[in-house]
Symmetry: C2
Subunit: 311 residues, 2 copies
């Protein structure tokens, strides 16, 4: 793998610092793809998101949707997520893609469902999502990661504040901020069952975290985040600027957010389970290189190293 | 201490069961106190709560107030709560009334502030609160417990579902359900910083919990509840009936709830600390007896054994 300049260093042994973002948030479509009109506006022509939505996304780093799937698609995905989870429990599956809760056998996440399951493969490559990805990323995209997150009732644990990009950069070798995630609720997202909380505007600041990355960090970090963690002083400053938002909504509602948006979630002692489908789209021009930690890359089910162009 | 029949057995080694409540929720004022009119209605005459509020309290087991204190009282209490906490930290106080967070030195609670601090002593004996207590409890009342709960930002932990009465009965010897609590927010109570969650209607059902009470249980239970915990199947049923409510509001807002209302709170990873003043009023006719666990009673700063009539 080629060597790439590290413009977003983190966990390199220094103090925590804030580095300004060096990449666009909505990426311009290259001239060669725009066609004869050639104006800036035409970069958006035909994309599913409106100018107002793109402006909001630039500003806040996220968009909330009341409903992002047809009711048929939603039902199919909900059923399939349930089937996969039950199989994991009743058959005591030990596939590495299945992550358990710390301190219990409850299923926390199942990774790479777009590769290992035909229902998710079809649904996540559907035209609508691909068109959004191409519009935000300014050209062809692929799925960097997919997973179902099950936050069981009663024992769902918190997930501390983090930027996904920080981890993808350090541990997977994602060179630039040209990716985003969609989290689709498969159960009702309530204020009380540990919904995703975001810090609006935090996507403009890269928090370079203290410490180093130990070998095979992913084996524990997917259960409980302890490295790549921003200090409280910086989180406090980001929250003073942007506040904390936690969109709620019915099954099928969704939140689309920039790869560098600071987010996390509280625990969940309610009986209401919280299940979501999480999928990351990355630009075909932003393929992974060698991880900036200097460690071997994480497995392909966590960060795809053989991109297949969508659409 | 005299022996009293245990009509609410719990942690006596049996299976978890649900026992119907055997006590009123709003307690009638004894005839001797009513005066010449003598009708049922006159029991409420002059009380601060309206008929509609009392009906709602009977039905749901709680009342939420936007503001329960004058702004002067609120400011005085807020300042004093801050002073007490800072003293606990900077002077590394080891008073038993000061409870720390599990796994850190952060202050979780300070007990018995109505006894040990002149500001709280005066504020908590103020006429308004006493009048509410006498109205709900049907006569003279005293303060069974008071405490400031600090839920610090970033590290505030969850507090699992429980009925306060279950613990007060088993560990303190409170014979009957003739007590209630007021939790007054001293900081903003947001959906995201671990507000109190209640299960409306759960106050009508007493959950007799499995297990036994170990000696000196309070030394750990105030940091993390592990006994007197209702099973998930019963919690699920209570929530199916009543849902989960979590009133939010500005500093000075309050929630008043029955001693047997099932409640809990999620953790808090936000920078927003959550501080509340918690005070328990008990009827002078419901004084503590020997704990039903058969163990020695907990210290007086947790459950008052020398009642002083309010008003």
């Amino acid at each position: 793998m080629m060597t790439t300049e590290d413009i977003y260093p983190s966990r390199t042994g220094g103090e925590a610092t804030v580095i300004p973002r060096k990449d666009p948030i909505v990426h311009p479509r290259p001239q060669s793809l725009i066609g004869s009109e050639g104006s800036g506006e035409s970069a958006l022509a035909g994309g599913p998101l409106s100018r107002a939505q793109l402006d909001r996304y630039e500003e806040s780093g996220y968009l909330a949707f009341d409903s992002i799937l047809s009711s048929d698609s939603l039902r199919e995905i909900q059923t399939r997520a349930q089937v996969l989870r039950e199989a994991a429990v009743t058959e005591s599956l030990t596939d590495p893609e299945i992550i358990r809760e710390p301190g219990s056998d409850e299923v926390r996440s199942i990774f790479a469902v777009h590769e290992n399951d035909s229902v998710f493969a079809r649904q996540l490559r559907a035209h609508g999502l691909t068109a959004i990805a191409e519009q935000i990323l300014g050209g062809p995209a692929y799925i960097h990661q997919s997973r179902i997150n099950y936050k069981p009732g009663f024992v769902g644990r918190e997930f501390y504040w983090h930027s996904d990009f920080e981890t993808w950069h350090v541990e997977d070798g994602m060179p630039r901020m040209r990716a985003f995630s969609i989290s689709i609720s498969l159960t009702e997202n309530r204020a009380q069952n540990g919904p995703v909380m975001v810090i609006p505007g935090s996507h403009r600041h890269y928090v370079s975290c203290p410490g180093w990355t130990p070998e095979e960090h992913y084996r524990t970090s997917l259960r409980r985040q302890e490295l790549g963690v921003p200090p409280r002083s910086i989180l406090t400053r980001l929250v003073e600027d942007g506040g904390v938002h936690s969109p709620t909504g019915p099954p099928g509602s969704a939140i689309l957010f920039d790869c560098n948006l600071m987010h996390g979630s509280n625990g969940n002692i309610t009986p209401f389970a919280r299940t979501n489908l999480f999928v990351v789209f990355n630009s075909m021009e932003n393929e992974l290189v060698a991880p900036f930690s200097g460690q071997p890359p994480r497995p392909g089910y966590i960060g795809c190293r053989r991109p297949q162009k969508l659409g």
